[in-house]
Amino acid sequence: MSDKILEIENLTVSFDGFKALNQLNFSMEAGELRVIIGPNGAGKTTFLDVITGKVQPTTGRALFKGKNLRSKSEHRISRLGIGRKFQTPRVYLKLTPRENLDLSCNRHKNVWATLLGRPAQSERRTVAGLLDTIGLATKSDIPAELLSHGEKQRLEIGMLVAQSPDLLLVDEPVAGLTDEETENVGNLLLTLAEDHSIIVIEHDMEFVRQIARQVTVLHQGAVLCEGSMEEVQRNPQVIEVYLGQPEDSDG
């Protein structure tokens, strides 16, 4: 067993001949916080789709803690310990934040346990603690549809943590947030990084600078370069394909 939590080997995903991912190699250590950046269409979201079982790789393989993820369905991969946050916040709108978290927190996710089981005391404590962490304690019992966009983003991250996964995949967590909310989410992720491995996909360069330790740049379905934020920013190839253009829009 290696202590790599995620290894991707020669991964190719092609949709009708179009290669969304092309011979991609990637690996990360347990406990790492990794930011993946790349221009639109670089294959960032497809990359997450493969890891979480939504898309099957055409060739190559993805290993999580040494286990091959091929042809495992989404819920099995989730139970292995991979949690995913989507680009737009996806929470259950008709349920309250507490119920949202409780469903994710449930340890036994088969039909009978859910039907007959009562939430354990420890699970209730976890949920209450999480509500504090994501700053929704005062709004814990109103329908989630009444929450603001930023609150929904935080709730979804909370739902991820409630699953107690080993690896968190976070897709553009600060899209559409105000500066203050962005900083909140950044701090939340940094706190979580203390005891989780996290992959963050992000466009917002300010935000990437706030949280990034190790950055991977994707371009045309393959890894262009890897390194600290400074190294990446100095890399001429990266400047050419990515940082050069959106820099002005990100201020």
Binding site: T52, K54, H75, Y92, D102, T114
Partner: protein, 393 residues
């Protein structure tokens, strides 16, 4: 405090238990009223035939509960519940048809020259088997169909079309098999004897009426249990965002199969109770229109509200029978209009409206202020309270 009540869902356990006891009490009182008082009242007003009507409509309310479970809570629109309803009805009608002296065959068999009882009729000599079959056969058919459909992630409109297609298949099978189940004529039950009493007699009918009330109460209790607690929340989660549910580590297939099967089982019970009170079961209950009507009851009463489903089934059916007595030609127009109104003006059905705008309207009618939606802690905040009391213009 009262102003923020809908937001205080997480009440102390003792309070929740009290309100649960209240609900149980209310349901029992209503059941007793329907059992003992309503028949007397209807008889006193010379409307005895409405007792039987009420019994049949309460049987239909059981189907409505099942439809609410699968459509209102889980978000899957089934247009094929007529199949499960009829399977339940046929199962019990077959038992009643076999209540004959040793060696005799049900009358219709001789008309078609059948001399030996078909093999699948044999077990229906037994009452326990028939009772189990009227629940389990629909439930198993639904579970099998559901498993194949849900495993392949067929959802939404495609699921609705599939259920309707299976309805047509079953209709044609039952309609054409005269030698097996009397085809289009169906099975009559009122001339059959059960425990030495004719099923159509007043005595038997009042027993069936009682059984229907008990069945409705039990069905309500079952649905109430299923929809409260984690499973109920998960059903709503599946309705709102099924793939999020997958990524949270749940496999929705099992849950959907369970709900579909329970819903079909309820339809089976309803079918049996309806059949014995109307005296016949025929392939007409597998009409496409009848299954769509079932959905209309729930839509009118209020999706995702169990009380709404029951009230919807009772009101629409009583409206139907009263209006079609008075104006036989226009009932169908009225039904269409009702559905259009509900879909466009009251998307939450009648109960949904009562819970939201209805309450506000009522409060303004009796001269009180509208409810304020606010965060509970905000309402308890002393500074906010101070502002509210002293800084109002």
């Amino acid at each position: 405090m009262a102003d923020t009540s809908p937001l205080n869902a997480q009440r102390p356990r003792r309070l929740r238990q009290t309100s649960l006891m209240m609900e149980v009490g209310i349901v029992i009182v209503i059941a007793l009223l329907i059992l003992f008082v309503v028949p007397l009242l209807l008889t006193a007003f010379g409307q005895e035939f409405r007792i039987n009507m009420l019994g049949r409509f309460m049987a239909l309310a059981i189907v409505a509960l099942g439809i609410d479970l699968i459509w209102g809570y889980t978000g899957m629109l089934s247009l094929g519940h007529g199949v499960f309803f009829s399977l339940g009805g046929y199962a019990f009608a077959m038992f009643l048809q076999l209540q004959l002296p040793e060696g005799e065959l049900p009358e219709f068999f001789t008309l078609y020259g059948v001399t030996e009882l078909p093999f699948f009729w044999q077990p229906f000599h037994s009452l326990p088997f028939a009772l189990a079959a009227l629940i389990l056969i629909p439930a198993l058919v639904a579970a099998l169909l559901g498993y194949l459909v849900f495993r392949n992630r067929i959802r939404g409109v495609y699921f609705s079309i599939l259920t309707q297609a299976s309805l047509i298949v079953f209709f044609h099978f039952f309609n054409s098999q005269q030698e097996l189940i009397n085809g289009t004529n169906g099975l009559k039950t009122d001339t059959a004897k059960i425990f030495d009493v004719y099923a159509g007699s007043d005595q038997a009918q009042s027993v069936f009426y009682t059984l229907t009330v008990v069945g409705l109460v039990l069905a309500y209790g079952l649905c109430r249990w299923l929809t409260s607690g984690r499973l109920g929340k998960l059903l709503i989660a599946i309705r709102d965002d099924e793939s999020r549910v997958r990524f949270s580590g749940y496999n929705p297939t099992g849950y959907k199969v369970l709900v579909f099967a329970v819903s079909a089982g309820l339809a089976g019970i309803a079918g049996a109770l309806y059949t014995v009170q109307s005296g016949i079961i025929s392939p007409k209950t597998m009409d496409i229109a009848f299954s769509i009507e079932m959905v209309i009851w729930v839509a009118v009463g209020g999706r995702a509200s169990l009380v709404g489903a029951v009230l919807g089934a009772l009101t629409v059916n009583f409206a139907k029978s009263i209006l079609s007595e008075q104006f036989p030609e226009i009932w169908l127009f009225f039904q269409g209009a009702l559905f259009l109104i509900v879909v466009t003006v009251l998307p939450g059905g009648f109960v949904g409206w009562l819970r939201t705008q209805g309450q506000d309207l009522f409060r303004s009618l009796i001269g009180r202020r509208r409810r304020l939606m606010t965060y509970p802690r905000l309402a308890e905040d002393p500074e906010v309270e101070y502002e509210r009391q002293n800084l109002r213009n």
